[in-house]
């Protein structure tokens, strides 16, 4: 990691952590110190947070915030559609006093401090009676008085804090997982209480075994143990019996079978011993089993479900409110009411709400949703535009062609589902080992029972029972979840959120690491790379002229000038769609844009330099002034990530939707193979399928909507910081800070696999020693209990070694 630290770091934005572009000097005073900001969006959010006296947010957070999306300023107008009672009914209820309880899904919650910020900030807004944020579900529950604060204002308020609110729509899957979580917790709690009680009785009984105890007190203690453990077995362990039975009927051997057998038989035999006053009781083992097994499963389920945000759908990328022509005038209407044939108006900067044909106006749409390309496509009357693309230049009037279900975006969503369902299931290590272990234990137990029936029939039940008890499924059951929990915790601390079910295990076996280009290996944004002056004018003056023109533009390259200080102003600027900008300053005419557009004004303009950049010309009516070269910068940490993977024997490759020569060039620079460029989302998916069919275990790193299908299909997948919600929902790992998280994650995944194997080795080794002793009838119950606990403790301690962080950041 030394090479990474030695590299000169650009100043990170204090709000979002992205590097502050050269020439940007935005500052917000937080905690009495000026802090650098990367963009006006971050400055606005940070200014609001600091201005409300909530500076503490920055001290408390454990991860950088997300960079706010720059949109046209008027949030409230955009959200006004939620004031419509019919629309609001979808996610809110009104009680008898007229108070509204609403549920919002928030994008951009990166750590627990975000919940504090939102709750604190909202509780100061007049009209909000109660606000609480559910971190795991990124959900805001709020109760408000709609006469003081309309819902649209609430949305706008949340948006101004830098989060992306949308209505929270209930889903059966989500309800079900919440119910299961509570049921698991209830069982765990009951088993825990039971374990403590029965454990206390058991200490007295074991002591009695050693130093003698009166028959009447032994009967009393056993009786109460029976009472408590019966309740625990019925209430908490019932789930094992049901699962084992369900699988047995289908002829499958699962871990739950010996568990159910051990618990059931041990309880039955102990109950018989209690009633008849003979033999030995195993009540403490019964409840301890139950508790540890439930604990292991609870921890595992928590890791798996923690960030399982699978409910973001593609439709959420579309605006809820659209401008549509009704009764001869433009009206704002809910998008869901759009019909094919409606005329809609899409303003610059807005997302196109439906597949439509342009009727009036000419403009450009950014289609990175579908192809990852960040330069817009020009459209004119008669051309089709697609739902989910962004109109960048001028307002477009269009006729809706189809409803959402038949749109190209819905087709993309469909291929996401296809990708997920076609994903090859890598059998889990634990499942494979468990089946063998179960068969082995059952075999040994039966053999023991048969042998003891020959030797001493009276002892047969007790000895075979002690074999079942001592085989300790606990250590085996804890081996995987303890390691997974520890690894996920450590990764989270280093800026990687683990979401996927078997992702860590799949990643540990990954043979191919595949990257998307735009937004993943590169920053996904054009920035000014080179200024090539053509006249004898200082560079900063050229920049000032360009910036003065560009502030009137919505084109992606205008962002590259956002940080340039405004020293000049133009008298008037016209945006010529598909060509460039035309401005007048002090009687002189300027043009900035494509070569053909500028040659119209100034025929002397030479060819642009040869470098593979996106060149834009600047000229006046007298002479050519400059060529500006724009490029999408490679992320600084990308070379190290690729190199580390190659060193470890993981093949790296590029799979890009962009068809420009920049892709192969970048791949060569970084030393990775080119798997394909210029591909549609579906073609990317097929490429990955092909590789998987050839035996490769593929991990994919991507960011955009167009990557979502392939992220779903890959064996393990990463979404980088700033990825779209749909891409995040498909990814197993979400990188909060930088691409370096990829390296940290696969290293941790390999370490995790090693630890799991060690745990299994220990559990099996322990059984190999203990089972023969038990089969020989040499193990008293108290020794079995101690052995079992120590074994579980060892497994947990070993797993905790994964908790160490690899590098501080």
């Amino acid at each position: 990691m030394a090479d990474q630290l030695a590299r000169a770091e650009p100043t990170p934005c204090y709000h979002c952590g992205e590097p502050v572009p050269d020439g940007v000097s935005l500052v917000v005073e937080i905690d009495g110190e000026p802090r650098p900001m990367c963009c006006p969006g971050c400055r606005a959010v940070a200014g609001l947070i600091s201005g409300s006296g909530l500076d503490a947010f920055y001290r408390r957070r454990t991860a950088y915030s997300e960079r706010p999306v720059e949109e046209d300023g008027d949030f409230a107008a955009h959200y006004r559609v939620y004031d419509d009672p019919e629309v609001a009914a979808g996610f809110s209820t009104t009680d008898d006093n007229g108070q509204v309880s609403a549920r919002l899904l928030l994008g951009g919650i990166t750590c627990a401090a975000c919940t504090w910020l939102i709750e604190q900030s909202l509780s100061r807004v007049p009209g909000v009676l109660d606000a609480s944020v559910h971190l795991q579900q990124s959900r805001l529950d709020v109760r408000l008085d709609p006469t003081v604060l309309p819902l649209s204002e609430l949305f706008a308020r949340v948006e101004s804090l830098g989060y992306r609110p949308q209505p929270f729509r209930a889903s059966t899957q989500r309800e079900q997982s919440a119910t299961e979580y509570r049921a698991d917790l209830r069982r765990l709690g009951v088993a825990g209480f039971g374990m403590m009680q029965v454990g206390m009785f058991a200490v007295a009984l074991h002591a009695g075994d050693l130093q003698g105890i009166e028959e009447q007190y032994r009967g009393l203690l056993r009786g109460f143990s029976l009472l408590v453990s019966s309740f625990v077995v019925y209430y908490a362990a019932g789930t094992f019996f049901r699962t084992a039975w369900r699988h047995l009927r289908q002829g499958a051997l699962v871990m739950d079978l010996p568990v159910a057998l051990a618990i059931g038989l041990a309880w039955l035999a102990s109950a018989w011993a209690t009633v008849s006053g003979t033999g030995q009781v195993y009540f403490d083992s019964v409840v301890m089993f139950t508790f540890f097994l439930l604990l292991g499963r609870f921890l595992e389920a928590r890791v798996r479900q923690r960030y399982a945000v699978t409910w973001f759908d593609a439709e959420a990328a579309l605006p809820d409110a659209v401008t549509v022509r009704r009764d001869g005038q433009w009206q704002t209407q809910p998008r869901r009411q759009l019909q094919p044939g409606d005329r809609i108006l899409v303003k610059p900067g807005q997302t196109v709400p439906a597949d439509a044909r342009v009727l009036g106006g000419a403009g450009a749409v950014r289609e990175d949703t579908f192809n990852g390309e960040h330069l817009p496509r020009h459209v004119r009357s008669g051309d089709a535009v697609y739902a989910g693309t962004v109109n960048v230049e001028s307002a477009l009037e269009a006729e809706v062609l189809v409803d959402f279900a038949h749109s190209r975006l819905a087709a993309l969503q469909h291929s996401v589902e296809m990708g997920r369902s076609g994903k090859p299931r890598l059998a889990r290590l634990a499942d494979r080992i468990a089946a063998w272990f179960v068969a082995g234990v059952l075999l040994v137990t039966s053999a023991t029972a048969l042998a003891w029936l020959q030797i001493d029939p009276a002892q047969a039940l007790w000895v075979s029972l002690s074999v079942l008890v001592i085989s300790c499924p606990c250590a085996l059951a804890l081996a995987t979840p303890a390691a997974l929990t520890a690894a996920a915790g450590a990764l989270r601390g280093s800026g990687v959120i683990v979401r996927g079910e078997n992702a860590l295990e799949a990643l540990s076996r990954c043979t191919h690491l595949v990257f998307d280009k735009t937004g993943t290996l590169t920053a996904g944004q054009l920035s000014l790379d080179r200024v090539h002056p053509l006249a004898d004018i200082a560079e900063n003056e050229l920049l000032a002229i360009a910036a003065a023109l560009q502030q009137w533009s919505n084109h992606p390259i205008s962002r590259a000038f956002a940080g340039v200080e405004r020293t000049l102003d133009c008298d008037s600027v016209d945006q010529v769609v598909g060509a460039g900008l035309d401005g007048v300053r002090g009687g002189q005419h300027y043009r900035m844009g494509s070569a053909a557009f500028c040659r119209d004004l100034c025929p002397a303009l030479p060819q642009p330099p040869d470098d593979a950049l996106y060149w834009v010309a600047l000229c006046s009516d007298e002479r050519p002034l400059a060529w500006f070269g724009f490029g999408d910068h490679t992320r600084a940490e990308a070379p190290a990530v690729v190199a580390a993977a190659e060193r470890a024997g993981i093949h790296t490759g590029l799979l890009s939707g962009d068809s420009s020569p920049r892709g192969p060039q970048l791949a060569t620079e970084l030393g990775m193979a080119v798997i394909g460029t210029g591909l549609q989302p579906r073609e990317k998916l097929e490429k990955v399928r092909e590789m998987q069919a050839g035996g490769a275990v593929v991990a994919m790193v991507g960011d955009g909507l167009n990557d979502a299908p392939v992220l779903g299909a890959a064996d393990a997948s990463f979404a980088v910081a700033g990825a779209t919600d749909l891409a995040r929902a498909q990814a197993d790992f979400v990188l909060a800070a930088d691409l370096g998280g990829v390296t940290r994650t696969w290293r941790k995944a390999r370490a995790c696999r090693r630890i799991i194997l060690q745990n299994f080795a220990w559990a099996l080794g322990y059984n190999l020693c203990a089972i023969p002793l038990a089969a020989a009838g040499l193990v008293p119950p108290w020794a079995a209990a101690i052995g079992m606990s120590l074994s579980s403790l060892l497994v947990v301690t070993n797993s905790l070694r994964l908790n160490r962080r690899e590098t501080a950041h």
């Binding site: 770091e9 110190e33 650098p36 503490a56 920055y58 559910h134 971190l135 795991q136 009393l220």
Partner: protein
Amino acid sequence: MDSLYLLIPVALVFVALGIKLLLWAIDSGQYDDLDKEAWRILNDDEGQDSHAQNSSAQDSGDPKP
């Protein structure tokens, strides 16, 4: 030792109460969001302004330029 006949049932009554209380807490949603509560118990101090001054100098671990 005869007191055991009274004390153990009394203990069991308390256990039953404890379980009842726990189940009530789970059902009322108090355990639904463990991550947030784990963080909040350490951070939700209202008197934040008093120590804002002295901790601002070596704060939050963000990389310094």
